[in-house]
Every structure is written in C-alpha cells, then in structure tokens.
C-alpha cells in the first residue's frame, strides 16, 4: 500500500502531472533560463528545495491555518523559503545567484509552488507532501534541464557550459533568442503530449485485447 502510494506520487510528479509539460506551470523561468543548462539545474534545485520545505510546513500547519487567510499564509511561508534560498545562494553560490537573476525572487509567484500548496499539501499528511514536493520539483528540474540542454546545444554549441566547438562554425543562434524559447517549449509540450497519447492508446488497446 505504502509503496503503491509512493509510486503514484512519483509518477504523478515526474510524468503524469509534470508541472512543466503537462500542467504548463512555472513557465516564466522555463522560457527565461533555458539558454544555459547549468542555470536550469540550479533553478530546478532551488524550486525543489522551496517546494519540499513549503509543502512540509503547510502540511504541518494545515489544521491550524484558518481557511480565510490560507493564501496569504502560504505566500508568506513560500516567500520566507525563497528568501532563505536566495541568501544561501548569494553567500555560497554567487555565480549561480547572478545567472538566475530576477527569476530567483520570482520563485515566490511560481504557480507550481502555490498550486501544490493549495491542491496537495493543505489536505495531505506531512510525509506525502514532502514526497510530492520532491517529485514535482524533480519533474520541473528534469523538464527545464532537458530544454536547457537542447537550447544550449543548438544555440551555443555547448553542453553544461562546456564549449563543444566554436559556435561560429556551427550553431543556430535563433534558439538562444526569446523566439527560440517559445518554439522549443511549444515543440517540447507537443512531443510530450504525443508520446503520452501514444502510450495511452497502447495501454487501451492492450486492455481491450485482454
């Protein structure tokens, strides 16, 4: 039973309810930061950290917080963890801090976090909320890092900041521009949906056969 629930949460977070490709939440950093895969990883880690912490705290306080001030309380808790993340990052990872720029404080208004607080943490026990935070964050991280790798490779001819070859020899600068961000994201969502649809159809066909 417990293992089943664990599997369910994990699968929901990373694939079935993938925040980036399926729910299309937290789009701003997804578009803004995917020019470099390294900052995607950093952003993913920051979001995951905030997500786990806020889910845990909100789940703990879910019976204490009155319904009326639910949203302000969630926002305050989330803002606290974002500020905390920002402080630690500025102190120990200044490079990452400056490459995330304005998107770091904007984690506060990242729909994924408030969304999970509202729809999951506020009526689920602590352990499950923590797991949900972990896997949702993981789903987000994997998604934007994938996009980051693709855009960085095509636009800058490099991988995780390591130059593969001189970008003047071959690279498609378009993918580094804002237009490239929209196109890549659109195609990723389309691809994700197509694959998911195909899998579902297969499963249906299998069920029908059986």
């Amino acid at each position: 039973m417990k293992l089943k629930r664990f599997k369910e949460i994990a699968l929901d977070g990373v694939v079935r309810q993938n925040p980036t490709f399926k729910l299309v939440l937290g789009t701003c950093p997804t578009l803004g930061l995917t020019t470099a895969a390294i900052s995607c990883l950093g952003m993913g880690a920051a979001v995951t950290f905030v997500l786990i912490c806020s889910n845990v705290i909100i789940s703990l306080l879910r019976n204490i917080i009155p319904d009326k001030v639910r949203i302000p309380s969630f926002i305050v808790i989330i803002a606290t963890f974002v500020t905390l993340t920002r402080m630690v990052m500025e102190a120990y990872l200044p490079d990452l801090y400056s490459s995330l720029g304005i998107f770091l404080p904007l984690i506060v208004v990242n729909c994924i976090i408030l969304g999970r607080a509202e729809s999951f943490a506020s009526h689920n026990p602590v352990g499950e909320s923590a797991l949900d935070g972990l896997f949702m964050g993981l789903g987000f991280t994997v998604a934007i890092t994938l996009m980051g790798i693709v855009r960085e490779f095509l636009g800058n001819a490099s991988f995780m900041g390591i130059e593969l070859w001189d970008k003047n020899v071959f690279s498609i600068g378009f993918f580094s521009t804002s237009a490239g961000a929209f196109l890549t994201y659109g195609l990723f969502i389309a691809g994700f949906t197509a694959i998911q649809n195909a899998i579902e159809r297969k499963a249906q066909a299998k069920a029908l056969k059986a």
Binding site: I64, I65, P66, A79, M87, P94
Partner: protein
C-alpha cells in the same frame, strides 16, 4: 452569541496570520545574520569574474583623473579599480562603432604585471550601443589579439587586419579604441610603464603647466617636421596649443608649443620669427631649447640661412599716412628676404571696432611675397577675410605700388590689412634706400 464567536474566529484568524508573519520574519532575520555578505565581498566577487585574483585596494582613487580620461581621443575611462596584487581593472568605453561616430563598446580591461612587463591580462566586454554585429567577434578573437600584449605596444597600436574581424569592422574599431583608452590611462596617469610617448608627454606637461595633452597619431606635420610626437593641448577647455616634441629622454626633449591654427611647422620660419618678436614666453615657442631646435631645423634646410634684426625701428616704424599702425619688429634674412611684424588698430568702420590686428608681412625681391596673420580682434568681419582674399590681394604687388583695394563686406578690416602691408612696404623701401 454568534456575533462574539465570529469575533473570536476573526481574532484567531488574524493572530494566526500575524504569528506566521512574525515567526517567518524572525527566522529571516536570524538567517540574515548567518549568511550576511558585506558589500565589499560582493564587489570583490563581481570583479573576480573579470580578474580572478581581484581584491579591492581602495587606497587609490577609483574615479579616473579627468585630464587622462580621454587620451586616445576616441574613448574614455570611467572607473579604475586597483587590486591588492598591483593589477588594475579599468572600465573603458570606445567610440567609433558606427559610421556617424556614435556606437560604443564598454568593457573591463585588466592590466597587470611587473614593470616593464605590464601586459593586458584579460578583456571582458560588458555592453555596447548600436553594435548589432558584435556577436561576430568572439572572446577568443579578442583574447588572441590583445591578451598577453605589453601595454607599451598596445598604446601605439594601429588598426590592422589582426584586430579587425569580418562582418564587424566597426565594432572592432570601437573595441580597439576602448582598449587603447584603458592602456593609455595606465601609461600616462598610472605610469605603469614609460614609453617614448609618455616620456615626451611628461616633459611637455612639465613645461606647459596645467595643459592637458592629447596625442595626435600619424599627423602629416609630425612627418614633415621630423618631430617625434605631436600633441594637441587644452587648458581650461579653451587655450589650444599644438605641441611638437623632438628628441628623446636620453638626448633631452626639445619642445615647441604653438597656438593652434596660428602657424604650423611647415612654416618654421614664421614660427621662429614670431617667437623672437613676441617673446619665448608668449605661449608660442615655450623654451629657448625649442627655438634653437627650430633654427637648427631651418639651417638644415638652408645651410647659409641666418636672420637678424633689420633696420632701425625708431626711424620708420610709423608713418603719418597709416594711422594707428606701427611696426613692432623686423628681420632680414641673408638672402634679403624681409619679415616685418606690424600691428594696427584702425579699421573702425561705422559702428564697429574690430580691435588690434597683428600680422607678419614677408617681402622678397621688392615684392610682397607672403603674409601671416598672428592675431586679430576676433571680430567676425576678420573671420571672413582672414587668411584668404583680403590680404591675399596684395601678394605679388611691388612694394612701391601698393594700392588700397576695397573689399565689400570687409571694408573696415581691409583698411587694417592695407595699412600694415603698405607700412611694411614703406619700411622696406626706406631701409633699402
């Protein structure tokens, strides 16, 4: 009953929110003490991206000295940060990145090393205006062209294929200008290395106190004169001089400073004569050494050349026909050419007074062979007639046949020109008689 319970509920609601806020605020305050980074560290970190060993040394002013900011004439230095290891990070902007003269590239230039091997350690472009094609220049291109070069060499760099990149030649120019501004600042203001140019500049600045000198590169006059360096100088924004420096530090610098536009080195004779008549201290030729250098240059061109004071000024310096006009000095060369410097305050015409006109008239073979306006009252009527048609009308005339020529639009100044030229002719006739 229900009213008081709703009051209790809302009190509870608000107090929960308040408690959450207070706890969060307290937590943040605590963490802030734990993770606080002071401004100094933040600054060092930001700068370490430009130069990894950077550690700010605030004992040196970080605002560049105004007179050295814009030495190359094509860019400027806006910040100078010193690192504790002796290296400097300069923030410089170069212009010339766009055909109309606008278009800039801003960058950090890191300069460091032991004298005399001070070199460019890195260059990092941070911004630009109107440089759409700058992406064609990669960091590798710039590193290869500039990094590791001794700043002595970079200071006098000329644009060439090694520094120009396809598709972005204008941006290349702005980049070079920015780097040269930074390097020139290091040489002249910070004195990290001494180049022949910086030595010449130092000597000239010592002589011309308070002047700011700008290097003029590859000037035709420098070549014609054989001067090693040519600067233009300003003082308080207005007092322009042209400065030629001959010789080098070992043999001694010879410096000639001329009022800009007054005369140029292709008229060495004028310069020498004006210097003798007006006095060396009169901002024309600033040192006796410079004057003797001019004389030696002239003699090199014409070995038998000498010149001397000609005639007796007390006798023929004025004439009743030419009111308010007098000769201040006169020289005769060994070939008989006369150079006469005279001044006139006539030229009052209707309601304007043009002021004093000082002019040199050169007379050779009984004819007016040339002239040189030394100074004038600054009236626009002189501006219109100066150096061109009005005195030019008399060139070639025999000294015993000078006729007043009226030029409309420059009638008053025309009288002054005529008086000086005619008085000079009279003087020439008198002393040769």
């Amino acid at each position: 009953m229900s009213k008081s319970s709703s009051f209790v509920t809302s009190l509870k609601t608000i107090s929960v929110l308040l408690i959450i806020c207070i706890v969060c605020g307290a937590l943040l305050a605590l963490c802030n003490d734990l993770f606080y980074i002071d401004e100094e560290t933040k600054f060092n970190r930001a700068m370490q991206k430009v130069y990894p060993e950077f550690e700010r040394d605030t004992s040196v002013s970080e605002t560049p000295l105004a007179e050295f900011k814009d030495l190359a004439g094509a860019g400027s230095v806006s910040k100078v940060y010193r690192s504790k290891d002796g290296a400097y990070i300069l923030e410089a902007t170069g212009v010339g990145g766009y055909p109309d003269g606008s278009g800039t590239v801003t960058m950090y230039v890191v300069v460091g090393g032991e004298t005399p091997n001070v070199e460019i350690k890195s260059v990092l472009i941070t911004g630009n205006t109107k440089q759409s094609w700058i992406a064609n220049i990669t960091q590798k291109n710039i590193d290869k062209a500039y990094v590791g070069k001794n700043i002595k060499d970079v200071a006098s760099l000329q644009m060439g294929n090694d520094y120009k990149w396809g598709g972005a030649t204008m941006a290349s120019t702005a980049i070079m200008n920015a780097i040269k501004s930074a390097v020139n600042y290091c040489v002249t203001a910070l004195k990290l290395v001494s180049t022949p140019e910086s030595e010449a500049r130092d000597a000239a600045v010592a002589l011309l106190e308070g002047y700011t000198l700008t290097t003029v590169v590859d000037d035709a006059y420098t070549t014609a004169v054989g001067a090693n360096f040519y600067f233009t100088g300003t003082k308080d924004g207005a007092d322009d001089v042209d400065v030629y420096v001959f010789g080098d530090k070992e043999s001694g610098h010879q410096i000639v400073a001329l009022k800009a536009g007054l005369t140029h080195a292709d008229r060495m004779l004028d310069t020498a004569i004006v210097a003798k008549s007006e006095g060396i201290d009169n901002a024309l030729v600033q040192s006796a050494q410079g004057l003797s250098h001019i004389e030696s240059q002239i003699r090199a061109l014409a070995p038998s050349f000498t010149y001397d004071v000609a005639g007796d000024l007390s006798q023929y310096a004025t004439h009743s026909d030419f009111a308010d006009t007098q000769i201040t000095s006169a020289y005769v060369c060994n070939d008989g050419t006369l150079a006469i410097v005279a001044e006139s305050t006539v030229g009052v015409f209707e309601d304007y007074t043009p002021g004093k006109l000082t002019m040199m008239v050169v007379i050779a073979n009984g004819k007016i062979s040339g002239f040189k306006v030394i100074s004038y009252g600054g009236h626009s009527y002189f501006d219109g007639s100066i150096g061109n048609k009005n005195p030019q009308l008399y060139v070639g005339s025999a000294i015993d046949a000078i006729e007043y020529v009226k030029v409309s639009g420059a009638t008053g100044s025309g009288v002054a020109y005529y008086n000086i030229i005619a008085l000079s002719a009279y003087y020439a006739r008198s002393i040769s008689a």
